[in-house]
C-alpha cells in the first residue's frame, strides 16, 4: 500500500471510530438527562456517567485531530511533488515550446493550480469516505433504538447524493470556465506588470486599467456563478437535513407524549439524528473546493499530456570528451514551426580553438543556428558534427555542460549581482572570479552599485545600463570552463573602446576555446579568425576578415555601409 493511501485509510478509520464513540456518548448523555429529569437523582448518582462522558470527549478529540493530521499529510504526499512534476515536464518540452507560452499562465497553473488540489485530498476525499460510512453506523445504532426514526433516515438519506449528482454537471462547467479565466488573468497581470513603464511611456496605462478592471469583474462574476451553485447545493442539503431533524424531533415528541417511546431512547435518537446528516452536509460545504480542484487538475492533466518532442537518436551519457571542440555543419535545413527563422543548406566549419564570427543581415538565421548548437532544436535535414560525431546522438545534458552561451537578451534572475554572476558556476574560485570581473570591466560597475556585490538587480537588469548588463552576461558565461563559447551579439551596447579593452582582456581566457559569435557590430569582427556571412538562411561567403573586406561581397558592402559616416 502506498503511504498516501495508508494515511487516508488512517484518517477514515479514525473518523469511523470517532463516530462510534460519539454514539456511546449520546447514549450516556441521554441516560444522564433521563435520570435527572425523571428520577430527580442527586449529582452523585450521575457523576460516573459524567466522568465517562469526559473521558469519551478526550478520546474523540484525539481521534478528530488524527483525522485532520492524517488527511493533510496524505494531501502533502500526493500534491507535494506536483510542482516538481509540472516543472520537469515543462523542461522536457524544451525552451522553444516555452518561448511560445506565457509565464503568467504557467505560473498560475504551477502555483495556484497545485494549491487548489490540496483541499481535495485533505478534505474532500476523506470526507467522501466518511459521508458513506458514518451515516451507516448511525443508522445501525438508531435502528434497534427506534425503528421509526431509522426509517425516516433511510428515506431521506438517498435524496441527498441524488440531488448532488443533479447539480454536478452545471457546476463543473462553471468551474472550468472560471479556472480558464484565472489562467488568462495570470497572463494579463504578469505581462502588464512587466511592462508598466512601457505602458506609461505610451500613455496606455489608463486603457490597461480598464482591461484589468473588466477582467477582474468578469472573474468575479464567474466565481459567483460557481459559488451560487455550490451554495445552492449545500443549502438544499441543509434543508433536507434540517427538515429531517425537525420531523424526527416532532415525531419523537408526539410518541413520547403518547407513551410509545421512553424518554431515554427518544433523547438518544434526537442527539444522533443531526450527526447522521453532518458528514453529508460537510461534504456539501466542500463542494466548491472539489469543483476547483477538478478544474485545476484537468488543466494540469492537459499540460502533462502535452506530447514531448522526439528524443531522436540521443543516447544517454554520450558526448564528445576531447578537450577542444571543432564543429562542422553539413547541409543543415531548419525552420521553426511558425515559419520563421529559416536555414537552407547551411554548411560551414567552426575550427577548434579559433574564433568564428557569424555576420549578416538581421533575421538571417544567426540566432537560429545557435539554438541548433545548444540542442534547443534539431536540424530537419543535414547534420551537425562535433569533432566528427553527430550532435544529434549526444546526451544534451552532458553536451550543454561543455557549452557556454551569451544570449541576445540576457535574462536577469531575481537576486543580487553576485547571484546573477555565479549562476553558471557557483563554485568558482576567488581568483578566477576577480579575473573575469576585471576583464569584463565590471569592477567599475560594482564600485557604483549601492550595495556592491549584494545589490539586488531589478527585472531585466533595472539599475544597470545596457552595456553593464551585457558585460554581466558575458562574465557569467566566461566563468564556466567550457571548451565551446556561443555568443549572440556580445558587444551590443558597448562602445568601441570598451570592446577593444574587453577583447584584449579576455583574449588569454579564450585561448584554446572555440568561440562562435554573432556580430552585428562590425567593429568587433577584427577579433575573429574566421568569418561566416549568412543571408536569408544561407551561407553566402566565408573567410578571414581581411579576405572578405576586400572580396567585394556582402561583408564588404556591410562594412562600407557601416563606415560611410
Amino acid at each position: 500500500m502506498q503511504p498516501a493511501r495508508r494515511l487516508v485509510a488512517l484518517a477514515v478509520g479514525s473518523g469511523i471510530v470517532q463516530a462510534t464513540l460519539m454514539c456511546v456518548a449520546a447514549w450516556l448523555l441521554a441516560r444522564v438527562l433521563f435520570l435527572s429529569i425523571f428520577e430527580h437523582v442527586p449529582l452523585a448518582r450521575v457523576s460516573g456517567y459524567l466522568l465517562a462522558l469526559l473521558g469519551l470527549a478526550v478520546l474523540r478529540m484525539g481521534l478528530a485531530y488524527e483525522v485532520r493530521r492524517a488527511s493533510f499529510a496524505a494531501a502533502v504526499r500526493v500534491v507535494g511533488s506536483m510542482r516538481h512534476r509540472l516543472l520537469e515536464h515543462v523542461r522536457s518540452l524544451g525552451p522553444l515550446w516555452l518561448r511560445s507560452q506565457s509565464s503568467g499562465e504557467l505560473v498560475t497553473q504551477v502555483m495556484d493550480g497545485v494549491d487548489a488540489l490540496v483541499p481535495y485530498y485533505a478534505r474532500v476525499l476523506p470526507q467522501t469516505a466518511l459521508a458513506a460510512a458514518v451515516p451507516l453506523i448511525i443508522f445501525l445504532v438508531v435502528l434497534p433504538a427506534d425503528w421509526v426514526t431509522a426509517l425516516i433516515l433511510l428515506v431521506t438519506a438517498p435524496l441527498i447524493p441524488w440531488f448532488m449528482v443533479l447539480v454536478g454537471n452545471a457546476a463543473e462547467h462553471a468551474s472550468q470556465t472560471r479556472w480558464l479565466h484565472l489562467r488568462r488573468m495570470g497572463t494579463l497581470f504578469l505581462d502588464a506588470l512587466s511592462g508598466l513603464a512601457t505602458l506609461r511611456q505610451l500613455n496606455a496605462a489608463q486603457r490597461m486599467i480598464q482591461t484589468i478592471a473588466d477582467s477582474t469583474e468578469s472573474y468575479r462574476r464567474e466565481t459567483m456563478e460557481v459559488l451560487r451553485i455550490a451554495f445552492l447545493s449545500s443549502v438544499v442539503l441543509e434543508f433536507f437535513a434540517t427538515v429531517s431533524i425537525a420531523v424526527v424531533a416532532v415525531w419523537v415528541g408526539f410518541r413520547l407524549f403518547w407513551g410509545d417511546l421512553d424518554f431515554q431512547r427518544g433523547m438518544f435518537v434526537l442527539l444522533l439524528v443531526p450527526e447522521f446528516y453532518l458528514p453529508l452536509r460537510a461534504l456539501g460545504t466542500l463542494r466548491h473546493s472539489r469543483m476547483e480542484a477538478l478544474a485545476a487538475a484537468q488543466s494540469m492533466a492537459e499540460l502533462l499530456g502535452m506530447p514531448l518532442p522526439e528524443k531522436g537518436v540521443e543516447k544517454i551519457g554520450r558526448c564528445c570528451v576531447a578537450e577542444q571542440i571543432g564543429i562542422s555543419l553539413q547541409d543543415v535545413d531548419f525552420q521553426y514551426a511558425a515559419g520563421r527563422g529559416v536555414l537552407k543548406q547551411v554548411s560551414f566549419d567552426v575550427p577548434e580553438g579559433q574564433r568564428t564570427a557569424l555576420v549578416g543581415p538581421s533575421g538571417g538565421g544567426k540566432s537560429t543556428l545557435l539554438d541548433l548548437l545548444l540542442g534547443f532544436a534539431r536540424p530537419q535535414r543535414g547534420r551537425i558534427l562535433v569533432n566528427g560525431e553527430d550532435l544529434a546522438e549526444f546526451d544534451m545534458n552532458v553536451w550543454r555542460q561543455r557549452v557556454s552561451w551569451v544570449p541576445q537578451r540576457a535574462h536577469v534572475f531575481a537576486g543580487s549581482f553576485r547571484d546573477n554572476l555565479l549562476i553558471a558556476n557557483p563554485q568558482v574560485g576567488d581568483m578566477r572570479l576577480r579575473q573575469v570581473v576585471q576583464a569584463c570591466a565590471l569592477d567599475m560597475v560594482l564600485k557604483n552599485l549601492p550595495r556592491s556585490w549584494d545589490t539586488p538587480l531589478g527585472e531585466r537588469g533595472y539599475g544597470l545600463s545596457g552595456g553593464e548588463l551585457q558585460r554581466l552576461a558575458l562574465a557569467r558565461a566566461l566563468l564556466r570552463d567550457s571548451p565551446l563559447l556561443l555568443l549572440d551579439e556580445p558587444t551590443q551596447h558597448l562602445d568601441a573602446d570598451m570592446v577593444q579593452q574587453i577583447f584584449e582582456a579576455i583574449g588569454p581566457m579564450l585561448s584554446g576555446r572555440t568561440v562562435l559569435w554573432v556580430a552585428h557590430n562590425l567593429d568587433a569582427t577584427v577579433y575573429a579568425d574566421h568569418l561566416v556571412v549568412l543571408d536569408a538562411g544561407a551561407v553566402v561567403e566565408q573567410g578571414t576578415p581581411t579576405q572578405l573586406a576586400h572580396g567585394g561581397g556582402l561583408y564588404a558592402r556591410l562594412l562600407e555601409a557601416d563606415e560611410r559616416a
Binding site: S103, N203, I209, M224, V243, A338, A414, P450
Partner: protein
C-alpha cells in the same frame, strides 16, 4: 443575516430539546400541554435557518468579492505612477503575487473573521442571557467554556500561527518569483548548466512552504478540536450544575434538556473561531504586503494645478544634477543642453556615462536634484506626466513588447490608428517586408516580451510603435543595436524623412552611420556635456584622433 441563521439554528436545537423533554414529562404525568407552539417553532426555525444561511452566504461573498475586485484594480492603479523608479528592484512576479494571491487572502478577513466573530459574540450574549434567566450557575459555567473556546483558543492560535503564517505568505511569494524566473530564464539555465540548481532551490522552497502549511494546519486542527472539546465541557458543566438543581427542584426538569442542548448549539458559532484566527498571521502579512506597496510614494509628484500647456517644444536643460542615491556620485553633474524645435542632436558618451538616465528625466520617470529642465518654456515639474509623454516619445534601449499580436503592440499608444498609417509606420521602421512575409501578418503573436522576434525585429517594432505616437520630440536610445549595418542605414534614411520638423535626440555610445540623422553632437563625459559641435566638426575631430 448570518446571525439570524445561527440563532435560528441554536433555537431549533434548544426548542426541540425542551419540546421532547416536556412531551415526555407530559406523557408520563398525563397532563395536556400546549404542544402546538413548540412544534410550529421547530419547523419555523428550521426554515429560517436554512434560508438564512443561503442568503447570508450569497450576500457576504458577493460583497467581499466586489470589494476584492475593486481593491485589485485600485492597487494596479496605485502601481502605475511607481513605475519604473520605485518598482525597479521589485520583480513583476512579486507584484503579481501581491495583486493576485495576497488580495485573495484578504477574503478571509470578512468571510472567516469579521462575520463569524460578530455572530459568535452576539449569539453568546443572547444565549447566556437566556441561560441566566434559568440558572446563574449554568450561565457561568457556559461562559467559562465560551471564553476557553471563543477567546483563549483563538488567541492561542493567533499567537502560534503568526510566524508560520507570515513565513507561508513570504515563501509562497518567493516561490512564485522563482518559478517565473525558472520559466523565463529556462534557455539560459539549460545552456549554463544551472537548471539543476534552480530546480533544487525551487524544491527547497516548496518543501519549506509545505512545512509551514503543515504547522498551520496542525494549529488549526488543534484549535478546532479544542473548541469542540470546550463544547463537550460546556454540556457536561451544564449537567453538573443542572442535575443537583433539578434534584433540589430549583430548575424545571424539561429546562435542563433545553439548556444542555442550548450550550451544545451555541458552540456551533464558536467552533470556527480558533481555526480562523490561526490564519490571521498570514492574512495580516498579505494585507501588509498590499498596503506597503500601495503606500509607497511615487518619486515624482504630479502638479496639483495643471497649467495651460505651451505649444512650443523647445527642450532646455540648465545645470541639471542627478543621482540615484544620496551617498552616490552624481550621474549627471551639471548638464546644459538645448534642443530647439526641429533640431537634431546626438548625445554621445561611453557606456554608463548617464545617457539613458537623461532620457528617464525627460520622461519624468525620475527626479533630478539640482538645476532645471524646461519644455516649451515650462519647467518640467509643472508638466503633468501624461501630457509630457504625449509630446516626447522614447524608444527604449530595452523595449518591452506585450504578450499580444503585432497589431495590438503597435496600437498600444493610439488604438484608433487606421491600417494605412500602420503600414506606413511599419515601412518607415523597415519592417513591412518582414511582416508581409509572415503567414499571419499583423496578427502574428509576438510572444511574451517579444520572444518570438529577433532582437533587430523587436527594436524596429518599438520604433514603429513610437512613430505612430506622432510626438513632436523623439528620443532614440541606442537604435542601432541588433541591426545589421545595411538595415540600419535604410532605417536612418526613413527616419530622416519621417522626423522632418520634429526634434530628435539620439542617444548612443557610437555615432557611426547615425551621423546622417543629426546636425549637432553633444559629448557626455562623467555626467557633463564636455563639448557640443556640429556633426561635421565632430567627425573631423574623430578622424584626427584616429
Amino acid at each position: 443575516m448570518a446571525l439570524i441563521a445561527t440563532l435560528a439554528g441554536i433555537a431549533l436545537l434548544a426548542v426541540s430539546g425542551r419540546f421532547i423533554a416536556s412531551m415526555a414529562l407530559a406523557g408520563v404525568s398525563g397532563i395536556a400541554i400546549n404542544y402546538f407552539t413548540p412544534a410550529a417553532l421547530i419547523r419555523g426555525f428550521a426554515i429560517v435557518r436554512t434560508g438564512g444561511r443561503y442568503v447570508e452566504r450569497l450576500v457576504t461573498h458577493e460583497a467581499t468579492l466586489r470589494a476584492l475586485s475593486g481593491l485589485r484594480v485600485w492597487l494596479f492603479q496605485r502601481l502605475i505612477p511607481l513605475a519604473p523608479a520605485r518598482l525597479g528592484a521589485l520583480h513583476s512576479a512579486d507584484l503579481f503575487a501581491r495583486l493576485r494571491a495576497d488580495v485573495d487572502r484578504l477574503e478571509h478577513v470578512y468571510l472567516a473573521l469579521l462575520t463569524p466573530l460578530l455572530v459568535a459574540i452576539s449569539a453568546s450574549v443572547i444565549v447566556l442571557a437566556v441561560m441566566l434567566a434559568y440558572s446563574v450557575g449554568i450561565a457561568l459555567i457556559t461562559l467559562l467554556c465560551v471564553l476557553i473556546g471563543g477567546w483563549w483558543l483563538p488567541w492561542w492560535g493567533l499567537r502560534w500561527g503568526t510566524t508560520p503564517g507570515e513565513r507561508e505568505v513570504e515563501t509562497h511569494a518567493t516561490l512564485r518569483i522563482a518559478i517565473v524566473d525558472r520559466l523565463r530564464g529556462e534557455s539560459e539555465l539549460l545552456a549554463l548548466g544551472a537548471i539543476q540548481n534552480m530546480d533544487e532551490r525551487i524544491g527547497k522552497m516548496d518543501t519549506e512552504l509545505w512545512q509551514q502549511r503543515r504547522k498551520l494546519d496542525r494549529l488549526q486542527a488543534l484549535g478546532g478540536v479544542g473548541a469542540a472539546f470546550a463544547a463537550q465541557l460546556a454540556v457536561l458543566g451544564v449537567l453538573w450544575i443542572g442535575v443537583p438543581e433539578v434534584h433540589r427542584n430549583g430548575l424545571a426538569p424539561a429546562d435542563l434538556a433545553m439548556l444542555a442542548m442550548l450550550a451544545l448549539a451555541l458552540f456551533e458559532s464558536i467552533t470556527p473561531l480558533p481555526e480562523a484566527w490561526a490564519q490571521m498571521g498570514a492574512t495580516f502579512k498579505a494585507a501588509g504586503r498590499i498596503f506597503d506597496l500601495a503606500d509607497t510614494e511615487p518619486v515624482i509628484h504630479e502638479p496639483k494645478f495643471p497649467p495651460s500647456m505651451p505649444t512650443d517644444t523647445e527642450l532646455r536643460l540648465e545645470g541639471v544634477q542627478m543621482r540615484y542615491r544620496e551617498d552616490h556620485p552624481w550621474v549627471l553633474d551639471g548638464v546644459d543642453l538645448c534642443l530647439a524645435p526641429g533640431e537634431r542632436l546626438a548625445l554621445v558618451g561611453a557606456s554608463g556615462a548617464g545617457k539613458s538616465s537623461l532620457a528617464k528625466l525627460l520622461l519624468r520617470f525620475h527626479p533630478y536634484q539640482h538645476g532645471t529642465i524646461y519644455f516649451g518654456g515650462l519647467s518640467l515639474d509643472r508638466w503633468p506626466g501624461d501630457a509630457l509623454r504625449r509630446r516626447i516619445a522614447v524608444i527604449d534601449q530595452r523595449p518591452y513588447l506585450f504578450d499580444a499580436s503585432l497589431r495590438e503592440n503597435l496600437l498600444l499608444a493610439c488604438p484608433d490608428t487606421d491600417d494605412a498609417t500602420l503600414w506606413r509606420a511599419l515601412h518607415d521602421a523597415q519592417l513591412d517586408t518582414m511582416v508581409r512575409q509572415l503567414p499571419e501578418g499583423l496578427e502574428t503573436w509576438v510572444g511574451e516580451n517579444g520572444m518570438q522576434l529577433s532582437g533587430g525585429q523587436l527594436r524596429r517594432v518599438a520604433i514603429a510603435r513610437a512613430l505612430l505616437m506622432d510626438a513632436p520630440v523623439l528620443i532614440l536610445d541606442e537604435p542601432t543595436e541588433g541591426l545589421d549595418a545595411a538595415t540600419a542605414r535604410s532605417l536612418y534614411q526613413a527616419l530622416l524623412r519621417v522626423t522632418q520638423g520634429r526634434s530628435l535626440l539620439l542617444i548612443s555610445h557610437r555615432l557611426g552611420s547615425m551621423a546622417t540623422l543629426v546636425d549637432q553632437v553633444a559629448c557626455l563625459q562623467q555626467g557633463r556635456i564636455v563639448k557640443q559641435l556640429t556633426v561635421q566638426d565632430y567627425l573631423a575631430s574623430r578622424r584626427r584622433e584616429n
